[in-house]
Every structure is written in structure tokens, then in C-alpha cells.
């Protein structure tokens, strides 16, 4: 562990402030609690909100997983995982099932989350109404009165113009029937995983200085209309490595002619399936963790 800094980098007073904000966030599902976000040694926009939430939550007996785009070994995920290994000496893992805290950018793992796990989302823009109303003073008033008609109008205009809702990620949701919330830029494919999840979901926006939460077993409804129900991305392909037909697939260009293949965005899910003998790239036993 690095010397000269407190456990998990933040000083205790800062942790107390963030912890108080987290508790209020859980007590008021979907409401964005303003907090005194600190300047972290990583840039704003690169996960400072998630890092502060994780730093306030993490203990020496936790096991931390960090993903970006579903992958454990993307550079920013590596950098954040190292930050906590260095400042908190905490155990890290790439396996979703072994993690007690999962910090993520842009994905929710495919593996079913369980009771007791905490997912920490990195949030760039927490305000769901921001593109429709840039002023904080206005959006705060709209949340106070649950005035969300403007969002329905926007989605309906999409349908009128394009025949469907043209939002692919960061798709707005309503939490516990009250607050409109941005789920962070996860693909809408992941939205159903938020609904009544047994895990606790915490959202941290460092630059915008907001923390919000979805408690376990809480209704999270993706906005839609009776005649245009919410739908998620679909592929007519399966993962070229593990054969999964139920996971979010990245489209990878493999040659100059524009040839492409589809692979799981969740690298742990894909590796686990291959360890179990699935797909064209199944790993023959004995199993060795490909991530090591």
C-alpha cells in the first residue's frame, strides 16, 4: 500500500461527508444528492464520482472488480483497479461472482448479481433532464414537483419522427414510481437488470457533484408508451468466442474489407462460459483463468 495517504486515499472527514450523502441517496431512491466532490488524482470524466463512492464504501475485507465497457482489462479499468490496490490494499478480482463491490463504466455484468453486492456506476451527466433543460435551477424545480412531461414529449417526438425512440444508451428510467433517473451511459440492454435487482446500485458523478442510488428490490421502469413498449438491442449473431446468444455483443472489425465478428462485451462472462466448455473458443480443462 502507498504510504502517506489515508486508507482508500480520501481523508476521514471527506469519507463521512460522502457516506452521509450515500445514506440519503439510498433513502430517497433516484434523487440526486449534492455532495462536496473532491479533486481526485484522476481526471474529471474518468470516474472520479465512482472512485469517491467506492473509496467511501470499501473496507479491507471487500473484493473489488472494476470494468469499463464490460471489460476488466480496458486501460481505465486497469488504472482505477490499481488505484485501489495501491491506496487501500484491497483484494481485486475479474470474476463477477467473487466481487463484493463492482465499479463500472457503461455496463452491468451479464452474470446475475446477488444480494450483498454493490455496483458503483461512474456517471458523466447525472441529470436526466439536462438535454431538455440545461439550467440546474429549472431541473431541480422539475424534480421537486415530479414534472416530467417534457421527457415523455421528447420520446414521443422521436417516435413521430423516426418511428421509434432514438435513445440507445443512458435510457431514462423512473425509480420506485417517483424520480426520473439517468442509469448512466449503459446500453438500454442493461436497463432491465436494474429493475428489482438484489444488488445495491450506487451512482457517483464527481464533476457534477451528485450521488444517487437504487436500493435492492426496487422498481426501475424504463420510460415507454403503451403502443411503443420499451425494447432492448438484439443481435442475429452469437458470440464468436463463447457462443452466447444472451449477452451484449461488441461488433469488431477484423479486416480491411470491413469483415466483422461479434464478441461478448462482458469479458468475465465470456471467459467463464468458455471455461465451462461453451462456444468455438472453449477452453479445454484443466481450467486456467485467462485473465491472469
Amino acid at each position: 500500500m502507498i504510504q502517506g495517504y489515508n486508507f482508500a486515499y480520501l481523508d476521514e472527514q471527506t469519507k463521512r461527508m460522502i457516506r452521509r450523502a450515500i445514506l440519503k441517496a439510498v433513502a430517497i431512491p433516484g434523487y440526486q444528492v449534492p455532495f462536496g466532490s473532491r479533486e481526485m488524482p484522476l481526471p474529471y470524466g474518468w470516474g472520479t464520482g465512482g472512485i469517491q463512492v467506492t473509496a467511501a464504501v470499501v473496507g479491507s475485507d471487500d473484493t473489488l472488480k472494476v470494468i469499463d465497457q464490460g471489460a476488466d482489462d480496458t486501460t481505465n479499468a486497469v488504472s482505477i483497479r490499481r488505484f485501489f490496490a495501491k491506496t487501500a490494499g484491497v483484494a481485486t478480482t475479474e470474476r463477477t461472482v467473487d466481487a463484493t463491490i463492482i465499479q463500472t463504466r457503461h455496463r452491468i455484468p451479464e452474470t446475475k448479481l446477488r444480494e450483498g453486492q454493490i455496483v458503483v456506476f461512474q456517471v458523466p451527466i447525472p441529470e436526466p433532464l439536462r438535454w431538455l433543460e440545461p439550467r440546474e435551477t429549472e431541473t431541480r424545480r422539475m424534480h421537486a414537483h415530479a414534472e416530467y412531461a417534457v421527457m415523455s414529449v421528447k420520446l414521443y417526438e422521436d417516435i413521430a419522427r423516426h418511428g421509434r425512440i432514438a435513445t440507445g444508451y443512458d435510457y431514462p428510467v423512473k425509480v420506485a414510481g417517483r424520480y426520473l433517473m439517468r442509469p448512466s451511459p449503459i446500453p438500454k440492454f442493461d436497463n432491465p437488470k436494474l429493475d428489482r435487482s438484489p444488488a445495491l446500485m450506487l451512482f457517483g458523478a464527481g464533476r457534477e457533484k451528485r450521488i444517487y442510488a437504487v436500493p435492492p428490490h426496487t422498481e426501475v421502469k424504463s420510460l415507454d408508451f403503451e403502443d411503443h413498449p420499451f425494447e432492448i438491442e438484439r443481435w442475429d449473431k452469437t458470440c464468436a468466442l463463447c457462443g452466447a446468444a444472451d449477452s451484449f455483443l461488441d461488433e469488431v472489425i477484423v479486416d480491411d474489407a470491413g469483415g466483422r465478428m461479434h464478441v461478448c462485451s462482458d469479458t468475465d462472462y465470456c471467459a467463464e462460459r468458455r471455461r465451462q466448455g461453451h462456444g468455438p473458443a472453449a477452453v479445454p480443462a484443466p481450467v486456467e483463468d485467462a485473465a491472469q
Binding site: 457516506r19 439510498v26 444528492v33 428489482r196
Partner: protein
């Protein structure tokens, strides 16, 4: 004047553990969690109450100590620096005992724009138990759950009246010795 009883021996680790237990409780209303406290606890507060105070209070959190909890004032001032709130509705945190309960409406319920700026009330409630007459539902609970909440019926009636003010509201933590259970503002309680 004698020195106040000691606080956490390892403030960093013990604060984290107390916070996590409380987070678990608030994320799962009705669930009983263990909140281990400091070695020496002050007169007026239970073990869990002392641990919550040490973990969450500081100079930025005015605190209200109701009834017999007031004896813990010097201990709280010494260990946390939390100022005494002049009135219950000026407090971020309030500590009380089941025997001498202030009305829920006496506290800061926050505003519609800032519902987080509300009091968290921590009540020592002997006899707290999982299972029992009280039927709880709401966010954090899969369906419903049951608990024994030995507080006056009138208190829950007054709390229920606050429900229509949501998102304004009062977040409750009930403690019994080193155990705690949370009733955030969104939890419906029937039959208590």
C-alpha cells in the same frame, strides 16, 4: 471533569464497518444488522448509537440529543465536534430513546427541492426483533417483510402522516444495543 469514554480504537476501519452495516440496514429496511461499537460507550447512548455517532458526525452535522441521550453531549462534542442543534428541526442527526420520543414532525424533513437536507433520527428501541406484527414494504424490500418494532402506535401514526409529503421525510434508525434496523422515509409500516 473526568475524560470522556474513549471512541473507536481504529477509527478508519471501525467507521467503515459501522457505515457499511448502516448502509446495509437502510438498503434493506427491516433487516437487523450488527453495529459493533466503541470499547467505551457514553452514558445516554447505546452501542449502535455510539458507533453511528462516531462514524457519521462531525463539525458539519448539528446534532439533537433528546431526553436521556443528552448525557452524551460531552462525549459527542469531544469525539466528533458536532455542534448541538438549538432545535430538533435544525439537526442533521438526532438521538432519542423509545421512552421519551419526540414527534416525527418536529424534525427537519428537508424540502421538495432538497429532500436530503433532512434529519436522520436514531432511536434506542429495546425489544427490536426480526419477524413480528409490523408488516414492512417499499424500496429495498422484496415484497414484504416483518419486524417487531416496540414503539408507541401514535408514533407510527404520526410517521405515516408524513408519507404524503414524500420526497420530504424523516429517516429512522432503530437500535437495540449493538443491533440496528432502518426505516427510511419510503418504507410503509402496517400493524406496528
Amino acid at each position: 471533569m473526568p475524560l470522556p469514554e474513549p471512541g473507536f480504537a481504529d477509527p478508519v476501519a471501525e467507521s467503515q464497518r459501522a457505515f457499511r452495516a448502516l448502509l446495509d440496514a437502510i438498503a434493506h429496511p427491516g433487516r437487523i444488522v450488527d453495529i459493533p461499537g466503541p470499547a467505551g460507550r457514553p452514558e445516554g447512548l447505546s452501542i449502535a448509537q455510539s458507533a453511528i455517532a462516531l462514524a457519521l458526525l462531525d463539525g458539519d452535522t448539528p446534532v439533537w440529543l433528546a431526553g436521556p441521550c443528552a448525557s452524551a453531549r460531552p462525549w459527542i462534542a469531544f469525539h466528533t465536534g458536532a455542534p448541538a442543534a438549538p432545535r430538533p428541526d435544525g439537526a442533521r442527526f438526532a438521538f432519542a430513546e423509545a421512552g421519551e420520543l419526540p414527534a416525527p414532525g418536529a424534525f427537519d424533513l428537508g424540502t421538495d427541492a432538497y429532500p436530503d437536507r433532512s434529519t436522520t433520527l436514531i432511536i434506542e428501541t429495546p425489544g427490536l426483533a426480526a419477524g413480528g406484527n409490523a408488516l414492512l414494504s417499499g424500496p429495498g424490500i422484496a415484497g414484504t417483510t416483518r419486524a417487531t418494532l416496540p414503539l408507541p402506535r401514535a408514533f407510527f401514526a404520526a410517521r405515516a402522516e408524513l408519507a404524503e409529503l414524500f420526497p420530504r421525510g424523516l429517516d429512522l434508525v432503530l437500535t437495540d444495543g449493538a443491533r440496528a434496523l432502518a426505516l427510511p422515509r419510503g418504507t410503509r409500516v402496517e400493524g406496528a
